[in-house]
Subunit: 929 residues, 2 copies
């Protein structure tokens, strides 16, 4: 089956011998949709519409090649261009039965720029070209409205003066001089709206504008319509080289040599009488994706009137009109008066519009956003483009279009951008009414939640137990806060970046989280914070938007969508294309259940230390750490064993049938020790050890750089009994579940390996502990043992390390920290200017740094597989949920990624996109041969 | 000129058709010095001595091949071996005019193991083989001393029982059963020394030994001399496969298939009368290298008597005897009675010995350590080997041997191991009297110093001003302590590894330093420490040995040698061979002067932040940091400018004519802030800022992992004005000095670059500041700008970075930290077992990890030079002073290393060694073609 592009348009090769001007109108067009490079997006699209029979005001496109020639010739138009323009203008005149510059039925033209890519910063539009003092009269006569004619003329003068002549504000003002004059006149006349100005006012306005132009530009406004046209076209081309356009291109990486096209098109008017109208519509409901025209129109109006909001627009369809009436409690008469539909008001035009909408949707293979004008009963389409929509709508439309055989599954899957799925998975702030945030931080984990402010974890826990909703506010969070985070609706921190402790933990739990809010000052003593200039005390309610980083005072309404059947269908299709597996990072049965629900194919990272903080077990952990010798440690470990085993029983059961990669203890032991005097005292009393002793120990264990300190497998080398206990807990849980007939597949992962011998030694520790544990059940049990590759040295010696590993898991969080020498907890403070100044394109903790960290990943994969071709390799950093990074993972041949449970659908979709793009690349390569 | 190996022996190819037994004696030997593989070290050396005409007791070597055959045949001797042994034994009998097993003039034999490499853990020696009840009589008669004969026999029995029969301690005792019996007898007889036992005692002892052997081994001591011999040879071969030997080989990486040879040699006796003697000598003075025999002997004695210390040995030469008499105030009669020299006592033997000593020295091309025996007026050499010596002696001997044309300069330079030079550069603990250390830490920086203990830097400074010598004791040091370190004689810390702050700073200053003394507990409040079970208060004196890590109570005498003319000659020769440049890390004129004195060719790393701590300037630095905006920062920077300029004027002047690489500010700013409440209060008062504000700022600037935080060029990105000020100070200093005619060559180095754009941006900042500064003098000035490569990502993108760099300097301290994920400040706590368990062969902060960090270094060099082939690349980490790392630097083609001033001579010599070894390798490669 031949592939369709996302626009559903099949491509042909470019024609030879390019002309400078491409005509379109009345079912014939010189150009086509795939000539964006030559005609710009707008020109190509106008041509395509005409070509498929859509009624479009006729016109012509002056190509990007001409733009480049003009630029090269320092503003001079190439020879032959005027003849070509003249010829095409004549065609427009023929088709419209009007003459450009004629005092009878004058033809008015618009000129619009249009580059290959949409590009703000260029001159956009000049309307009503062709008007002058003489043709003005003709237009007044034809429209039977001198006011209409003056209104058109004053708009031309203002636009021409502004964008063609570049007349900026005067005397250090901010308003354009034309707006200034208009404002002054309205003040003088005591009116608020332009529409309240009468014919005489507008005539005076035109005079003032003409005077201004003559004075500022040194010559009168050109009365020659042809001169107007050439000046406008010249301005379009010049605007390509304008400062704003250049800086925009630099930012977006758009080549400077593309150039822009200029589109010259006949003006049409929806405000010439009651047989005229103007409107916009979507071919499907952009909120839900429901099939059916969705939009609004105004009789005897022009586009600007819809925006101005003076008149209430009417619905397009009768059904919509009825729904409106129902929801507003209107009678049928009221409905017909307030909300008469186009379907009723202009049934012929409506039918034509409906047919055109269907045709365009089918032609472009996607939901369209269409602008139309009805001029004296004649429907004209001014623009069509792919319609913006919510993600839920996007999913439904994609699924429906496949069912309607408009697109194939592959195109459907590519229709939804993976990060957009987050919208569907978390509640959102209801933006239907305007909202003012009091401050903004980094959007660390999406969702929208409200709750009472608390400043410490224990209060958050107590609130949760009392059924209260809480926002935990901290300078930054530490593992000690884990219960508080769990008990809160949302987390707000003053410090930390997108991958700070708070951000990572919150994302892992699917909790809403805003971090690095520089504006936030906390006074723990007074239980107060200063935010956006306000003092907010404990117990006051705030709302966080984790998708934007905004913080609102009080409770703000939110909305949440159900994942429907279409979502399931869509994700199933996506799964059909992807090659990468998707696992989740989870350490509680609840997280595991969420992950499974979202389609995770296993747990790629189960952090056992998180279990150490829960409930009373932290006391036993501290007892172990404070033990003076191995005997003491062994006693404490014996108490921890049944608890850890309980954890593993629960998590392995909830992931029955799927692999669960369990990482042995990773963080420095001092993270488990008490910090404040109060905490130290509590531990001291509880354990019967002097506070002084504990304080000394805490002091002695303090590390200058804990990230590079006594952690990971270094703990296993120092205290093999800890790893042995953890292994025993895993293996006992696995054996007991297997006895029950539960299919379990735990794997043991050793963190922070820097040298193959570490893994060799610890693999022996694990294997011995596993064998011993199994013996107690009279069984044999062999458990896969793998390692994190999260240090540059491990990547470089992956071949040595692979000899002792059954699998690798790339810990790209720590690999990024060490490769870039960048602490993720500290980076927020100085990384921002790095991203804005373009030193880094993205936050390297959010999206993998392909060149640097990526080279190490490739090295690890290549060297690891050089000795074990079948080595299973996953990635379990935060990057596992980032689409760009997932593309990279697909590219380097990883087996799976593992991410936060809430990011699993995103990862699945991103993996599908990656696989499809790769296929596409391969196909292109094949073709190129 | 043909090269000589270090032993001065030219090599020939091995002979074909190897026999199992190699004879040596009376000027003829089957083997040669280069047959160590076949004959073992001892056998080859005995053969070589015989071959060059040295009188050696005759004997023969059973080859390592036989050992391997015996091992393969499970202990069975190969066919034909007994015939070969018999034939060779007959030769020995002929030469000695004795018969093995004869009751008249019995031949006694020794059997010794001897592998290719010296190998403790194998059976060593059995003496007096051939004695039995019958030959005992013959020996008694011949020696005219039954006591002598019994003494020989009991030694045979004990050695045979111990090493051949393997009879270990009985009943859980610790002593060998033979020692046990001997001890019991001495107790019973009420004597302390073996020599006090008479003939009857020894006869009884022999009987007891024979009984013990019969009882424990189940059969009587073999009376057949031939059986004794074969059993001893078998035991030698078996010992190769003993548990201790195997584990030693594993540890040392010696192949298990080398095998050992067995050396069978005629016994000689120096204790048969007054025409007998035994002694040892060095061919030159091992303490000074002075030419002339240096040693001692005893008349009518055997080797053990010298060790036992019962009789005072006499000097070899008349000159030594006279020196002895002089220093002890002896009369000539006293001298002749107490210290008669061999030169006088046995003039013929002396002359022969002197000639042999010369021959051996010349033959082996080095100073020899010789053991000899005179048996009835006949001189016999038992062993010769390269003599151990002090470094000063090594240097003098090497230089003298070149002058004597015994060796060439190349061989001379290779004679001294670079790290040994430290001995010459620092004072040493005088070990002439035994000393007991109270505790031991890591030997971080060599030297030996005594001083009063103080626990904080200000006291150290005050003491220094009062002229007192101080040892600064801290848990660990921070940049705040810099003045205290400078003011102290030595530093002792409880925490930190070989590259902790204290260690690095101390080495940089050439200060004695012991770190990571786990035993040390400090109570700052009470101004006390606990060390080795003692309480030591402020003001008590301790002595540190920075070469061993030992700490002594009180003042311990030290010695210091002057660097003589020979040292200068030697180093000049070394410089002639090396390719690598050697610079120093220094930031004060004093350090720079030391560096120049030791031969540094520039400053490779001048850390500007060290200058920020000195004197009052820390206040200005804090003012800058605490400034709320850039204006405030600029004001503070304006005050710092003249001070920094002063620093640079001094250092550039003292390094006139040589390059000085100045690194712009590197450490996190919070390192400069006050820490304790007291310090905060002082700053608060001094600056008129509230203590609360300062505390908040300190808190806000605190970093989780400062090593990976807001430091290095990230400071330059955040506060370009700091780098601009520093550049201006450098350039103004340079211009002013040039005006005076001083030749200066400063270079600016940007630290911690992770991305080429950082360097691009900061290079612009530096160049602009330099241009502006020069303009003020009406000049142009262009300064080379380079960067540290100290992050894995920088190594990986060295090609991009090189485009903006005039030079690279490899910061392998930080590169090691990030590549291995290992904080050098924290590693001491867990790295020790890593080195002892062989996970790391060396502390990677001391010697570069070639496989991991080394790959990144190679990558940086290759990629950097791929775009700039002439790019200058140095290394300025601690590794720059480590010989192994210097070899690596030479290998990868660096231009220079930069190290602590006191390590400069070591680096120069190591660089020479590296170049010579490389030449050697190339020569070998060329020959192999």
């Amino acid at each position: 089956m031949p592939r369709k592009t996302s626009k559903g348009v099949s491509k042909r090769s470019q024609p030879r011998g390019r002309r400078p001007v491409y005509f379109f109108g009345d079912g014939r067009a010189d150009g086509r949709a795939d000539q964006r490079a030559l005609l710009g997006g707008k020109g190509a699209n106008l041509a395509e519409m005409v070509r498929i029979g859509v009624p479009v005001p006729p016109g012509f496109t002056i190509t990007t090649e001409v733009c480049k020639a003009v630029s090269a010739a320092k503003g001079e138009f190439p020879a032959g261009l005027d003849a070509a323009v003249e010829k095409n203008l004549a065609k427009v005149e023929r088709l419209t039965d009007r003459r450009f510059g004629s005092t009878k039925r004058p033809l008015l033209l618009s000129v619009r720029s249009g580059a290959r890519a949409s590009m703000p910063g260029m001159m956009d539009t000049v309307l009503n070209l062709g008007l002058n003092r003489a043709t003005l009269e003709g237009l007044a006569e034809e429209s039977n409205s001198p006011r209409f004619a003056y209104d058109c003329y004053r708009r031309l003068l203002a636009m021409f003066g502004d964008v063609v002549l570049g007349l900026g504000p005067e005397d250090g003002g901010e308003l354009s001089p034309f707006e200034q004059i208009l404002g002054d006149m309205k003040t003088a006349r005591g009116v608020a709206l332009d529409t309240e100005l009468d014919e005489g006012d507008l005539a005076k306005l035109c005079k003032s504008y003409e005077d201004l132009i003559a004075r500022r530009s040194g010559r009168p406004f050109p009365q020659d319509p042809v001169e107007q046209l050439w000046m406008a076209v010249g301005a379009v081309f010049r605007s390509w080289d304008g400062a704003r356009a250049i800086s925009y291109r630099k930012m977006q990486g758009i080549p400077h040599d593309w150039g822009t096209a200029a589109n010259v098109q006949a003006m049409v008017f929806g405000n010439l009488g009651d047989d005229c109208a103007t409107g916009v519509l979507f071919t499907r409901d952009p909120r839900t994706g429901e099939k059916g025209l969705y939009g609004e129109f105004l009789v005897n109006a022009q586009g600007e009137d819809v925006v101005a909001g003076i008149r209430t627009p009417q619905p397009i369809t009768l059904a919509a009109s009825r729904r409106h009436a129902e929801s507003h409690g209107l009678t049928e008469a009221g409905r017909r008066s307030d909300a008469l539909s186009l379907e009723e008001a202009m049934p012929r035009c409506y039918r034509e519009l409906r047919a055109i909408a269907r045709r365009l949707e089918k032609h472009y293979g996607d939901m369209q956003d269409i602008e139309f004008t009805i001029e004296r009963g004649r429907l004209l389409i001014l623009q069509t483009r792919t319609g913006k929509r919510t993600v839920a709508a996007a999913v439904k439309i994609a699924v429906d279009l496949v069912k309607e055989k408009v697109i194939d599954r592959e195109a459907a899957v590519l229709r939804v951008q993976p990060p957009d799925l987050l919208q569907m998975l978390h509640p959102q702030i209801d933006r239907s009414t305007p909202l003012k945030a009091i401050a903004k931080g980094l959007p660390a984990s999406p969702g929208a939640v409200s709750g009472e402010v608390v400043f410490d974890a224990p209060t958050a826990v107590a609130n949760a137990e009392a059924g209260q909703k809480t926002i935990l506010v901290r300078v930054e969070t530490s593992p000690e806060d884990i219960d508080g985070i769990h008990s809160s609706q949302g987390i707000l921190t003053a410090r930390g970046g997108m991958t700070s402790h708070a951000a990572v933990v919150a994302r892992g739990m699917g909790k809403c989280c805003v971090v690095g809010c520089g504006d936030l000052e906390i006074d723990y003593e007074r239980q107060q914070m200063k935010l956006g200039g306000r003092k907010i005390s404990r117990g006051e309610v705030v709302t966080l938007d984790g998708s934007t980083g905004e913080i609102f005072l009080g409770r703000v309404p939110t909305t949440r969508r159900e994942l429907g059947k279409d979502f399931g269908t869509f994700m199933r299709w996506a799964d059909g294309f992807r090659r990468l597996g998707v696992r989740a990072n989870a350490e509680t049965p609840h997280d595991a259940a969420v992950a499974r629900h979202f389609g995770a194919e296993g747990i790629g990272l189960c952090r056992t230390e998180h279990m150490f903080f829960e409930g009373d077990r932290i006391d036993i952990v501290r007892e172990m750490i404070l033990a003076p010798d191995q005997d003491g440690r062994d006693r404490a470990l014996a108490k921890l064993l049944p608890i850890q085993k309980g954890d593993f029983l629960a998590i392995l059961r909830s992931m029955a049938g799927l692999p669960v990669t369990i990482r042995l203890l990773d963080p420095p032991l001092h993270e488990f020790l008490p910090n404040t005097d109060k905490e130290i005292k509590a531990v001291s009393v509880g354990m019967g050890v002097s506070a002084r002793h504990i304080r000394q120990l805490v002091e002695a264990m303090r590390e200058a750089n804990p990230m590079l300190g006594h952690r990971g497998c270094r703990l296993g080398i120092s205290f093999p009994e800890i790893y042995a206990m953890q292994t025993r807990a895993v293996v006992e849980a696995a054996i007991e579940l297997r006895r029950e007939g539960v299919r379990v597949a735990p794997e043991i992962m050793i963190p922070l390996v820097s040298h193959e011998k570490e893994l060799e030694i610890l693999r022996n520790v694990v294997e011995k502990a596993a064998t011993d544990a199994a013996k107690r059940y009279g069984r044999k049990y062999s458990i896969p043992v793998g390692t994190m590759i999260e240090l540059p040295c491990a990547a470089l010696t992956a071949d040595e390390i692979a000899q002792h590993a059954d699998f690798f898991s790339l810990g790209t969080n720590d690999l990024t920290q060490t490769a870039l020498g960048l602490s993720r907890d500290d980076a927020a403070r100085f990384l921002f200017p790095y991203v804005t100044r373009g030193i880094y394109q993205h936050d390297p903790f959010v999206s993998i740094d392909r060149k640097r960290v990526g080279e190490l990943v490739r090295t690890a994969v290549d060297r690891g597989r050089s000795v074990k071709p079948e080595l299973s390799i996953g990635l379990c950093g935060e990057h596992g949920g980032d689409p760009d990074s997932i593309h990279f993972c697909n590219e380097v041949g990883l087996d799976y990624v593992s991410c936060s449970p809430f990011r699993v659908p995103i990862a699945r979709l991103a993996a599908a996109h990656a696989a499809l793009r790769e296929d596409d690349r391969k196909t292109r390569k094949r073709k190129a041969r």
